[in-house]
Symmetry: C2
């Protein structure tokens, strides 16, 4: 093992919005990051499938630039892989292989974690590798570590949150500017807050993925994203997924009652097991989730004996999300464990897996 003051060498995979901001901060904030990590963080290699995206980025002289992420993780002497490519493939294979080789991984890839988190956790535990993913939920809002570590001694009964910035921005625009659903979506696309194909956000898929990750940390169980209800039985937009069915008239009617409509991701421990949903709800303005504005995220944990703990912050944005990625990198450099360290795990028998190795 390297000396604690030797540089902590990372491979950064992907130079999209978050990847660029991460590379940028690694250079600009090197002093602060070294303090946080207890040793310098070195950007050993960066993998950019589209090298043009590196333009304008001031990389350190020693940083290797490679087009192939598979080659990047083979660079000798790496301490951690930071996967910010997104998507299931090849990100999934690369993360899996790195963990299998006992290497630490930081990822913001919520879709990958929701789809394959249990397998990745099992691999990491068997190989003694660490996997951190704070940026996968809440962007720059510290949701996961609060749940797993700070509330480690709390029996969490319920997690509720506004965890998709796009749909929240759209509902804000419908309310504030009295736009119809279509016009609000178009405005979000123009503002860069919604994709050309917005179904991931609008249908609640993105929030459901994030809820799967929250459920793992709050309740110790990996559930299937398909088990998260995304079609409301009643209330605004009932019968259609996500906010597809929310009309301007629903927003106006809620407003007339002094209420707001927010997309609420909620998971609750019940006698029949964990119940999870992502659906639009009309809520009271005193509800902490009513305070989520624009792309802001708010998550509330209800538990015994801590009562209610709330965290709010920027749910998206390159620099804010990069700060969460880099907090994970610093934690790994200090020798801390996986994001799930501290959280309950017995429900899926993962502790038994780990104990058996």
């Amino acid at each position: 093992m390297a000396s604690p003051t030797a540089p902590f060498r990372v491979a950064l995979l992907g130079v999209g919005t978050v990847g660029r901001a991460t590379a940028d901060s690694l250079v600009r904030d090197a002093g602060r990051l070294a303090e946080a990590a207890g040793r310098p963080i070195e950007l050993a290699v960066i993998a950019a499938r589209t090298p043009a995206r590196l333009q304008g980025l001031a990389l350190p002289a020693g940083t290797q630039v490679l087009a192939d992420p598979h080659a990047a993780v083979e660079v000798p002497g790496l301490d951690a892989v930071v996967e910010l490519m997104g998507g299931d493939s090849p990100a999934g294979e690369i993360v899996e292989a790195a963990l299998r080789a006992g290497r630490s991984v930081v990822t913001a890839n919520k879709h990958l974690l929701a789809a394959r988190g249990q397998a990745l956790e099992t691999t990491a535990r068997q190989a003694g590798a660490r996997l951190r993913f704070e940026a996968a939920v809440g962007g720059g809002t510290p949701v996961l570590r609060v749940c797993a570590s700070d509330l480690a001694a709390v029996r969490i009964e319920c997690v509720r949150g506004v965890i998709n910035g796009t749909t929240n921005w759209i509902l804000d625009a419908m309310e504030r500017d009295h736009l119809g659903a279509g016009a609000a979506l178009a405005a979000a696309q123009v503002a860069g807050y919604a994709e050309t194909d917005p179904s991931f956000d609008v249908d609640g898929i993105d929030a459901a993925d994030k809820l799967v990750i929250l459920v793992r940390l709050a309740f110790g169980t990996w559930i299937s994203p398909a088990a998260v209800a995304r079609i409301a039985v009643d209330g605004p937009g009932a019968g259609r997924p996500g906010i597809r069915g929310v009309e301007a008239t629903d927003v106006a009617a809620a407003e007339a009652r002094g209420h707001r409509i927010r997309v609420i991701a909620e998971a609750r421990r019940t006698a029949a097991g964990i119940v999870a949903s992502v659906v639009p709800r009309e809520i009271d303005p005193d509800d902490p989730l009513a305070r989520a504005h624009g792309i802001g995220n708010v998550v509330v944990f209800e538990g015994e004996p801590a009562g209610t703990v709330m965290v709010a912050g920027p749910g998206a944005g390159g620099p804010a999300t990069a700060a969460a990625v880099l907090a994970d990198v610093a934690a790994l450099a200090r020798g801390e464990g996986s994001t799930w360290a501290g959280s309950a795990a017995a429900a899926v028998g993962l502790l038994a897996t780990e104990a058996a190795r």
Copy 2:
């Protein structure tokens, strides 16, 4: 070093409200705590200067009960000391001696940390001991780790919070029940939220102590509690410390303007250094701090590039505060470092101290 699955043996000093709740949870939540810690937490010894306070507490068969806290920390094979006696002495000497001996310490003692934090940190770094104190600020609200670790990559410019439950409860009562200051204080005393001598809370001393701890983690500097301004130059209660000068007419006038009065603890990075104060302020209801009700705490961090991150939760209460204490114990058992690990430290030369040893 003991095997990672050997019990993590703690000495618990003090059986006041938080100490009792901690002992209780160590027994009742043993399974969850073992998961969080990665190994069983064993209550090896408990020090109770007033043994009658142990009545009704179901202690494990193997737990030693001692009246003398000095003797308790000498029990062989301890992994950590949990100091919940409060006060400066003998708590200060015991914590100091434990750290000097290289032993890990968890404390909720904000007054001790504010008065002697820099010396304790120096001792801990020189001895290679770990000191954690999440419960010292915010009770069951995860404020310190969020600041130090989750925002490690963020340059914090300002910390603002409502961090004293007693004065907040009093202001709530003045507003809600139209009580005068004296009647509201009396009601708080009857409800158990204020001491017979309430000056620690009412004069802003408790909040100033907590702000000193927040400043260390946000800005890397230990400041003197005396450097925290507790007398407002203008606004409600100006000219007197804390809420001493806030009258029912101030609360009514604020209400007439649609505002609320809260005691705001604030520290800000300025060109002239760090400016810190604990004073009553009339604030807009949209200010997140206006949402602090009763003994609830709210802390807001403003920084670059994360924007604004808010944390809210129960600011007091035995079980909630005990949960924060036990999250620290679990973190130590997993091998994590001190509460300041991850936070900036260069400003006071502490990193140099550590590097020199």
